[in-house]
Symmetry: C2
Subunit: 749 residues, 2 copies
Amino acid sequence: MPKLSRRFLVTLAALAALVPGARMLAQSASQPPDAWEQAFRALPAAANIRGYDEHLSARPHAVGSAYDKENAEWIAARFKEWGWDARIERFDVLFPTPKVRVLEMTAPTRVVARLEEPNLAVDPTSGPKAEQLPTYNAYSIDGDVTGPLVYVNYGRPSDYDELARYGVSVKGAIVIARYGASWRGIKPKVAAEHGAIGCVIYSDPADDGYVLGDVFPQGPMRGPDGVQRGSVMDMPLYPGDPLTPGVGATPDARRLPIKDAATLTKIPVLPISYGDAQPLLAALKGPMAPAAWRGGLPIPYHIGSGPAVVHLKLAFDWQIRPIYDVIARIPGAVYPDEWVVRGNHHDAWVTGAGDPVSGISAELEEARAFGELLKKGWRPKRTIVYGAWDGEEPGLLGSTEWVEAHGPELRQHAVIYINTDSNGRGYFDMSGSHTLEHFINGVARSVEDPESHVSPWQRLQDRDVERGTPAERRQARAGGDLSIGALGSGSDYTSFLQHNGVPSLNLGYGGEDETGNYHSIYDDFYFYTHFEDTDFAYGRLAAQTVGTAVLRMADARLLPFEFTDLAGTVSGYVSELQALVKQRQAEARERDRELADGVFAAVNDPRAPLLPPPAEQVAPAMNFAPLENAAAALTAAAGRYTKARAAAAPHLDDHGDVVAAVNAKLMQSERQMLDPAGLPGRPWYRHMLYAPGFYTGYGVKTMPGVREAIEQGKYGDVEREVARTAAALDRETALVNAAAAELERIGEK
Amino acid sequence: MPKLSRRFLVTLAALAALVPGARMLAQSASQPPDAWEQAFRALPAAANIRGYDEHLSARPHAVGSAYDKENAEWIAARFKEWGWDARIERFDVLFPTPKVRVLEMTAPTRVVARLEEPNLAVDPTSGPKAEQLPTYNAYSIDGDVTGPLVYVNYGRPSDYDELARYGVSVKGAIVIARYGASWRGIKPKVAAEHGAIGCVIYSDPADDGYVLGDVFPQGPMRGPDGVQRGSVMDMPLYPGDPLTPGVGATPDARRLPIKDAATLTKIPVLPISYGDAQPLLAALKGPMAPAAWRGGLPIPYHIGSGPAVVHLKLAFDWQIRPIYDVIARIPGAVYPDEWVVRGNHHDAWVTGAGDPVSGISAELEEARAFGELLKKGWRPKRTIVYGAWDGEEPGLLGSTEWVEAHGPELRQHAVIYINTDSNGRGYFDMSGSHTLEHFINGVARSVEDPESHVSPWQRLQDRDVERGTPAERRQARAGGDLSIGALGSGSDYTSFLQHNGVPSLNLGYGGEDETGNYHSIYDDFYFYTHFEDTDFAYGRLAAQTVGTAVLRMADARLLPFEFTDLAGTVSGYVSELQALVKQRQAEARERDRELADGVFAAVNDPRAPLLPPPAEQVAPAMNFAPLENAAAALTAAAGRYTKARAAAAPHLDDHGDVVAAVNAKLMQSERQMLDPAGLPGRPWYRHMLYAPGFYTGYGVKTMPGVREAIEQGKYGDVEREVARTAAALDRETALVNAAAAELERIGEK
C-alpha cells in the first residue's frame, strides 16, 4: 500500500541518521552508495550560512562600491582558509549610475514622484543610505522627455496588439508598464519599437504588494514606497559589458564607443513604486483597460492616452568600473583537465541578503565542507572550480566576461556548470540541460527536505500529484524522472550554456514565501531572517544538494550524462513547433473569416469601440521532416547508448582508457548543439536548443531559431532554421553513437 | 462568399424599411410573413418608453409605499386608455421594514458603519430621502449579536469547504461575505448551517465598483457608499408571501404564524457598502485568503477569525402590507380559453428606473401598440393577458400570489408565460422552456438591433463565433437554433413555470453596460438616461421583440411548440448527470488516494498550514437506464411530431377541429413534467426539469431531483429521482406521440 511504502522509506531515512550507511538503502538504486557523499552531507551548518549572510549583506555592495571589492576579497580569503586555490579576476565594464532622476506629472495637476525608499526604524539592516544606489534601471539612456501617458499593461508585444484594437497609439507618448509577465528590459525595448519616447515601470500591488499579503515591515510584501531596481540592457542580444561583446573586458580589450553599444535602451526608463504610480494612473482617461490589465490599485484602470502628461528626465554617470570575480579551485586527482564548474554571484543591488547573498552563502558552506573533506583525505577525480561572480545584477557582467575571456579553455575542459542564485524556503527548482535531467533527479532523491522530511524529489512529485493537471499527475505517479525546465536567461549560466555549450544546471529552493523585496533596500538581513529562510534550514539543504551534485559529477567514473531524456524532450519540442504552426494557421484563417463575415462589426459596442484586428498572413505548410528525422535518430542513438552503458557498467574498472575516451566525448556533447553562426540577428547566442526569448527576456525559447521565426511570422526563415537545428541534433546523434560504440567494445569483451 | 451574403441580407433589411413587405424576404423561412406583425413592429416609440420610465420612477415605489399604489393605478389606467380590460388584484403579504440597523466594530478599534447612501447634487432623481427604504435585506430576522468576524468569500458551500482546510470555524462568529457568485439569500442560509450567528454582505469593488469602471456620478459603477438592497428570503424553498405558501394571500387565506415561516433567515443579515466594509476587512488577521477570494480593496484580504469583533443589531416592523397586481386582457377571438400571458413587475427597491421600470415601460409600449392594432381591426385568436406585478423585489410576491390564487385556471388555460424585467443595451438574452427554443430563435431573427443593424439573433451568433469556445463557434456557424438557457429563479416566471408547468420565456436586452446601481437609490432616471439605454433604443427593441413573440403565439394556427430541441437538451442533461457521477467518483478516489499517500502532509507549508481535506464516500455506480430510455423515447416522439407537423402543414385550414385538439394537447405539454409531490424537501417546486438550486438560489439546476442528490452526496436518493424524472419525461413523450398521431391523420388525408 502506498501509505505504508512511503512511511517505510521515512523510517529507513530516520534509521539512516543513526546508522551510517543504512540510509543508502533508501536512495535511488541508480545512485551508488558513497561514503564521501555521506560525509559531505553531514557537514553544512545553518549557523555558518547565517554568519556569511550577515557579513556579506552588512553594507550595500553593488558594482563599483567599496564593499563589493571587500566582499570579493573576503570570499577569496575564505576559500583559501578552507584549502582552495583562490584568486580574484578583475574586469573593467561600463556601469552607469544616476546623476539626475526626475519624474513628474505636469497635467492635469502637478505631482512629483518621490523616487525614494525610506529607511524604517524597525529594520536596522536596510543599509547606510549614503552607500545605496538610488532606484533606477541600469543601462537606460539619458533623456529629457515630456509626453502624454499611456498604460500598456506588462508592455509585451501582445499588449500592444490589444492597444491597437482600442485605437490608442504610443507614438510620442511615455508609457507606464507594470513589472511582471516579461523581463523588465523587454518593456522599454517594445515601447521604443512602437514609437514611445519614454518608459516608466512600476510594481503593481496585484503582482507585488498588498494583494499578496501584509506589506513590510508588518509582512513580507512590497509597500507603497518599494521600488524594484534592475537592469534593462538588451540581454537577449548579448549579456555582459555592452562595450566588449564576445570578448573579456580585460584592460586591453577593444571597446565600442558608448553610442555603438547595441544593448543600451533606445528610450529613457525609470522604475517607480506603486505609491508614485497611483496618481499618474488615476489621472488617465480614455478606454477602460481590459479586465486582465487591471491591477490592485483602488482606481479604475484607464489606458489613456492622457490627459495625464508626464515629464521624465534622466542623466547617468557613464563610467567604466572594475568588477571582481573570485575563482577558486580544487585540482582533480585523476582527470585534472575535466572541470566541474559551479558559481553564484556576490554583487547585489543594495545589501541583497536574499539576492544573492542567501545563494553565495550556501555556496561558501559547500566550499568549507569540501575543505573538511580534503583534510580527511578526499581528493576529487576531476577539478572543481567555484566562481563567485561580480556584476550579475547589471547584466551578468562577471560571469560573461570571465567566460568570454576563458572561452577556449572552457570549451575544452568544462564538464558542467552548476549555477545558483537567491535561495529560499520551499520546493527544489531544477532547470537545465536535458542531458542532466536524470542526473539531477538522482541528486534530488538523495537529500531530505527539512519541513516534510521526505526528499525534495518526493515533495515535487507530491506537488505534481496534488496541484498538477491530470497529465502531470499521471506522469508524476509513473515515478520516472521529473521533467526539468529549459534555461532561458536571468542568471550566470547564460554564457556557459548558450554561448559556449557547457551543459548547465540552475538550482535552488523556494516558492513558499511570497516576498516583495526584490531589488529593494529591504532585501536585507532583517527581512531575510524574519520572512524568508529564517533559520537557514533551506540554505543548509541547498549546500547539501548542490554539493552532492558537484561531488557526484567530480567523482563519477563514467560521466552521468543521459540522452533518452534529451531525445524525449527534443521530440516534444518538434511536436510543439508543428502544433504551433497549425495553431497559427487556424487562428489566422479564423480571424480572416471573421473579418470577411463582418463579425467584429456586429459585436462592436459603440460606447466601448474596438477596431477589428488586422488581417494576417496565413502560414504556409512547412517542412519539418529534417527535425523529425533528427529527433528519431537521436532517440535511437540514446537508446543504443543507454543499453551499451548498462552492459559496460560491471567492467568499467578494467577499461580506464575506454572510459576516459568516452568521457572526453560526453564532455563535448552539449557543444554539438552550438552553431557558430548563432541565432538570427543575435550571433552571440549559439545554442540551437535553448535561448532567452527575444521578446520574453528571461523566458526560454526552445529551438529558438525555428520557434521565433514562427512566432514572429517570418515564415520564410523557418525551413532554414529547421535545417540548422536538425544539423545540430545530427552532430549530437553522431557523438552519442560514437560514445555508444566505444562502450559496446567493453560490453563485448 | 460569406461577406457578400451577410451584406446582401443587410441590404434587404434596409430595403424592407422602405418597401413594406419586402423585409419578409430577409426573415427566417420558418416564419410566415404577417402583415399584423409588420404593423405592430412599426409602432413602438422610444420617446413613449422614456416618458413611462420618467413617470413611474419619479418617486420611490417599494411595496407599501404610496407611489407603489399610485403606479399600479396609473398602469391600469393606461391599459384601459389603450382599449384593454384592466383591473387591479390586491393581496396582503408579510413585508418587514427596518426599525433598527446597527453595525459596529468593537475591537480592535471602534468603527460604526454609516449604512447610508447619500444623495448627490448632480442627480436630482435619486428620490425623496424621506420615502426611501433604508439599506437592508428583507426577511432577515431580528437579532442582536456580537462575535468575531470571519471573511467567507462569496459564502457558498464550497467556500466553507475551503475555510475548513484553513482550520477556521464560523461557529459563534459573524461572517462577512461579498455579493456575487451565488444569490444573496444563500449566504446567510449557508452561514447559519455552519453555525454563524450573523451575516454581513458587502459589494466588493472587484465585482461591483471601481475595478470595473469609473464610479457614479463620474461613471456607472458603484461608489464607496453604494449598497445593494435585496431579499434574503429562502426562495429555493418557496417564493411569495412567507405566511401563505401554496395559496394566494387573499384576505381570507390561512396564514402561518411568523415564527413558522420557513423562508425567513435563521440569523440576522445586513448589506453594506465597500466603504463600510473596508475597515472591518482591514482589521482581520489570520491566514491570507486564497488568491481567488481577494477582491479589489487596497488591503491584504485575511480570513480571520478576528481579531475584529463586530456587533450587529437589527429589528424590523413585521407588518402585513397590500400589494397591487395589474391584470389586463384582450379577449381571444377564436380561442378565448387559450391565454398568452406576459408580465413584468412594477415595484422597485427605490425609484428603480432600470430595475424594473425599463422593463415595465417597454411592456406598456407593447400594450399601447396592441391598442393601436385593435383600432385597426386586429383581433387576436387567443386571449392576451398582461400582468404588471407588485412585490417582485421582496420575493416574487405579486406574481406568486396571483399564480397561487389562479392556479387551476392557469393550468387549464395558459399557453405560455413571457417574462421580462430590467432592460438594457446590448445582446438579446433568451432563456426558458426548451419546447420554445425554436420559437424564440425565430422571433430573434425577425427584429433589428439598433447598433449593429443586424438581427439580435445574428449578433448572438456573431458573439458566439468571436468569443465562444471552438465548440460554441462550430455550433453557432452551423446556423441552427441557438441554445437558450434553462430557467432557475430571480424573476416572476418562477411560479408559472416551476409551480404550474406553464412553458415560460424570460427575455431582455443587456450586457453592454456594466452598472453598479443594482438595488441602490442611484438606480434612477438620471442614471439610466446617462449610463444605460440612454435613448431607449433597446427599450423600443424590447417592445418590438416581446410584442412579436406575444402576437405570433396569440395568432398561431398550430401552436409553435417544438420538441426536438427539448429532446436534444434532455439527452444532454442525462449525459451531464452521468458524467457528474463519474467525475465525483474520480475526485473522491483521487482525494482518498492522496490522503493515503500522505501527499497533503508532504506539500504542507508549515507557515501557511492547510489541513488535509476530509475523506469522501465514493459514489456507487447508479442506474441511469430509465432516464436514457426516456430521453430516447422522447427523441423518437419529437422526430415523429416534427415530421407529422410538416406533412400536415399545407392542410391545417381544412382541419380546424384537429388543429384545436392538437393545440389543446400542446398547451398541456409542459404540465406533463410536473410531479405533484414536488422536489425532495421543497414540494412547492414541481417541475422535474428546471428549478432554482437549493444552494445557488437564482442559478438553475436542471433535472434538479437527480442533480442535487448527486451534488449533495445523497447517493441513496438518486435512483428514486431518476425514476420520477423519467416518468415525467415519459408523460411528455406520450403527449407528443398523441399530438403527432392527431396530425398524422391530417397528413394521411
